[in-house]
């Protein structure tokens, strides 16, 4: 749990890479998945993605492995148990954020907001 708290909060990019790896994917597969999940908003650069994958492997959140990819030049990755725990923790944190934001905006934003 301590390790998870240390890794939180994740950047948006890291969060999307992690959830896309709930199924095994190679680098380009991750780019496409993140692009479609974010409705075209997050366009991952290959330099950014390559660096992020290395860091996620080092942190023990994803692992490279053999998952029937035909081209041996492409590494395939999948999320680890620790990675899944981290996603759950992040989801709770993000839910708290949106709930608090909505609650306060509803209560106070309505009074002093738009005229």
């Amino acid at each position: 749990m301590n390790k998870i708290k240390k890794l939180s909060p994740l950047t948006e990019t890291t969060f999307y890479i992690l959830i896309s790896l709930l199924e095994p994917l190679h680098g380009y597969g991750i780019m496409q998945e993140v692009l479609s999940l974010s409705k075209g908003r997050i366009h991952l650069g290959p330099g950014t993605l390559y660096g992020a994958l290395g860091n996620l492997v080092k942190a023990g959140l994803i692992v490279p492995g053999e998952y029937g990819e035909t081209n041996p030049r492409r590494k395939i990755y999948i999320i680890t148990g620790l990675g899944k725990e981290l996603i759950k923790y992040e989801l709770l944190r993000l839910k708290e954020m949106t709930q608090n934001g909505e609650k306060l905006l509803h209560k106070k934003g309505a009074e002093n907001g738009s005229k």
Binding site: E12, T13, L44, P46, G47, T48
Partner: protein, 199 residues
């Protein structure tokens, strides 16, 4: 036949860019492509270009220290993402792609990861600096001792000091200054990026 010969024309240009001038180098390569000279290969301070049509090509350099067995995977990812790999020069990898309007054409899509790249470049410079900085005081001590006259009677030792040790010390001092300047310049790039709080 004449056209074919044209297509096969190559030229090699010598030009020095320092580690903190990657953007300048990218722009220069872009200008060359607009003139119809497309980068074909890179050497230590040389660039080989192949003559072709004038095109608007975006060049990007990536700094990466990478194990040999991972290079294929690394390059394949960039190729999948639409970047053509041209060559590498030490830890610098050269990529290019056709310029397209309204499209983000950067290797790094966020600041954090770009800062990481420059941080590893800075580390490399610091590591390379260390042995030079460590040995220089020794060299100067020997030169000073020689100049004080302690070994002035010893002709061969004096010759070695004047002809070898002194020039070496001056050369290494210049190298060290350049590297320290490089570290400062890279640090400035990092600082500028950090002031931009977007991820």
């Amino acid at each position: 036949m004449g056209v074919n010969e044209d297509n096969r024309r190559f030229k090699t240009v010598s030009r020095i860019f320092f580690a903190w001038q990657a953007e300048k180098e990218e722009n220069w390569l872009n200008e060359m492509s607009k003139k119809g000279w497309h980068l074909d290969n890179t050497g230590f301070i040389t660039y080989t270009f192949r003559k072709g049509e004038s095109e608007d090509i975006i060049y990007r350099l990536d700094f990466k220290i990478i194990r040999n067995e991972n290079i294929d995977d690394y390059i394949t990812l960039f190729e999948d993402a639409g970047w053509e790999y041209i060559s590498k020069m030490g830890p610098w990898y050269y990529f290019r792609t056709e310029a397209k309007k309204d499209k983000n054409q950067e290797l790094y899509s966020d600041n954090t990861s770009k800062i990481r790249m420059y941080n590893s470049l800075r580390w490399l410079l610091i590591i390379l600096c260390a042995p030079v900085a460590y040995n220089l005081p020794n060299l100067y001590r020997r030169i000073i001792e020689a100049l004080k006259g302690r070994i002035m009677d010893d002709i061969p030792a004096r010759a070695v000091t004047i002809n070898f040790t002194l020039p070496l010390a001056i050369f290494l001092t210049l190298v060290l200054c350049l590297m320290i300047y490089g570290i400062i310049r890279v640090s400035m790039v990092i600082k500028r990026m950090k002031s931009d709080i977007r991820e």
